[in-house]
């Protein structure tokens, strides 16, 4: 999407219900702005995020995907984010191996108390995606319909 020739990326943020979604709520109630390009999807836990969701987002035109969960050790379900951490590490490494810019994917641990961190993270991520530009590399291979 682009308004006035300015590149507006599509960014999907998966947030776990207990920490990061609450962190995003806190960022909201503290009026800590971040760009509207970020759209949040609520999941119960970071371990609910299937690599297929991430690839699907790219398939459908996302320019960046970020996954936020509780800090390791603080998972509401004790261990979920540890599994998520391994899965995402391997997935991101594979995408990097295939030549996809590694800045398009990110995992950040944000607690319910870290509204500031949520906002800073999103600002940084959007900035990063804007600097990378449109997702051409995956875009070449995207659905044309």
């Amino acid at each position: 999407m682009s308004i006035n020739n300015e590149f507006r990326p599509k960014i999907v943020a998966f947030c776990c219900n207990w920490c990061s979604y609450a962190g995003a709520d806190l960022a909201g109630s503290s009026r800590l702005a971040y760009p509207a390009d970020v759209k949040i999807i609520r999941v119960p836990c970071s371990c609910r995020v299937n690599p297929m969701f991430i690839l699907r987002a790219f398939e459908k035109g996302a320019d960046g995907v970020i996954l936020c969960g509780c800090h390791p050790g603080d998972c509401h379900y004790s261990t979920g984010n540890y599994y998520a951490r391994r899965r995402m590490t391997l997935l991101f490494s594979m995408l990097d191996y295939m030549g996809v810019e590694n800045g398009r994917t990110r995992v950040e641990w944000v607690s319910a108390a870290e509204g500031v961190k949520f906002s800073t993270t999103m600002n940084e991520f959007v900035e990063k995606i804007r600097s990378l530009g449109e997702n051409v590399r995956l875009g070449d291979l995207r659905c044309k319909n």
């Binding site: 299937n50 690599p51 297929m52 690839l55 699907r56 790219f58 398939e59 390791p72 050790g73 261990t79 540890y82 599994y83 951490r85 391994r86 899965r87 995402m88 590490t89 391997l90 997935l91 991101f92 490494s93 594979m94 995408l95 990097d96 191996y97 295939m98 030549g99 996809v100 810019e101 590694n102 800045g103 994917t105 990110r106 995992v107 590399r137 995956l138 070449d140 291979l141 995207r142 659905c143 044309k144």
Partner: protein, 320 residues
């Protein structure tokens, strides 16, 4: 070969096994096919030569449902797959009588053709390989016909068997991760170009999926609508990429690196490069892990440590 055949007949006759899972002789030396033999009579077509590359472990899924034991011939690398299928609860160890067969590295007619030999009429599986062609006879060194996977063989020890027959010879000469490292060293543009070129060849025939012992789902997720993902029809090239990434991800931690995917790909796509990247990353980050070596082991994606690397390692120079 004869010893193996005799022993199989003996076990069929004395009722230890109800059938034999092995290879059936083809039209030529170089095209034996996996087959079940359920009688001594049928065993006349049984063959085991250096072209018997197929991994038979996956056939044991169906064999496990049948009455009685099945004699299965497993090469050293196949025995890892068999173990992994046991830990996936897809085959029943009790239903198998495993003869670990020797392996001196497997030959492939494609490989021989690739070495520039044309008009092949017949080949031997001997060392050196004798090739009869329209243009006369040729002699090729054994390694010229050997599958590339055999050059990075993980060893000639069987990890599971009831008895062993036949001799093996070490064939490993290169580090199996060298190819992965070569890609890792590329620029993102080069990597992308490389994979785009390879994957654009994919015709989505599913041969890789069908042969893969780790791809043992009753119904593949790509054939269902659980993810609302497209059916087999090759809708777009992104799908292709997604299919291969997800397939590699689904077998990550369970792939034994048997190399069947690349062997059977009619388009010659080096599919094992995906699996090996995952294996290499797993070894680097979570400690050496060989799927199938220990059927009791907890896989790297179903376990963790509190000190695991963060995904950001990928953007900080990658996993090397």
């Amino acid at each position: 070969m004869q010893e193996l055949k005799n022993r199989a007949i003996e076990l069929l006759e004395n009722g230890t096994v109800a059938r034999v899972l092995g290879w059936k002789i083809g039209e030529n030396t170089y095209d034996p096919e996996p087959a079940f033999f359920d009688s001594v009579e049928a065993m006349k077509d049984f063959v085991y030569n250096n072209f018997c590359a197929a991994n038979l472990s996956k056939y044991m899924i169906e064999a496990s449902k049948l009455e009685g034991k099945t004699l299965v011939c497993l090469k050293p690398c196949d025995s890892y797959s068999f173990n992994q299928l046991v830990s996936d609860h897809r085959v029943d160890r009790e239903k198998a009588y495993i003869i670990g067969v020797g392996c001196k590295g497997k030959l492939s007619i494609e490989q021989i053709k690739k070495s520039g030999v044309k008009g092949i009429l017949s080949v031997t599986d001997s060392d050196p390989i004798q090739v009869e062609t329209l243009y006369g006879n040729k002699e090729l060194p054994y390694t010229a016909g050997m599958l590339s996977r055999c050059f990075s063989c993980k060893g000639k020890e069987h990890v599971v068997y009831d008895e062993l027959i036949g001799e093996s010879a070490e064939t490993s000469t290169v580090d199996r991760f060298d190819e992965v490292r070569r890609i890792e060293a590329m620029t993102p543009e080069e990597k992308f170009a490389f994979f785009q070129a390879e994957l654009s060849k994919c015709i989505r025939c599913n041969a890789c999926r069908n042969v893969c012992p780790a791809c043992n789902c009753r119904k593949c997720v790509f054939d269902g609508n659980k993810f609302d993902s497209a059916q087999k029809a090759n809708v777009d090239s992104f799908e292709e990429k997604m299919f291969h990434i997800i397939r590699a991800f689904h077998v990550a931690g369970r792939c034994t690196d048997c190399g069947e995917c690349s062997r059977v790909c009619p388009q010659g796509i080096p599919l094992h490069l995906f699996n090996r990247k995952f294996i290499k990353d797993i070894n680097t980050l979570y400690g050496e892990y060989q799927a199938g070596a220990d059927p009791e082991a907890k896989g790297p994606l179903t376990s963790f440590t509190t000190e695991d690397a963060e995904p950001s390692i990928v953007s900080k120079g990658g996993i090397v």
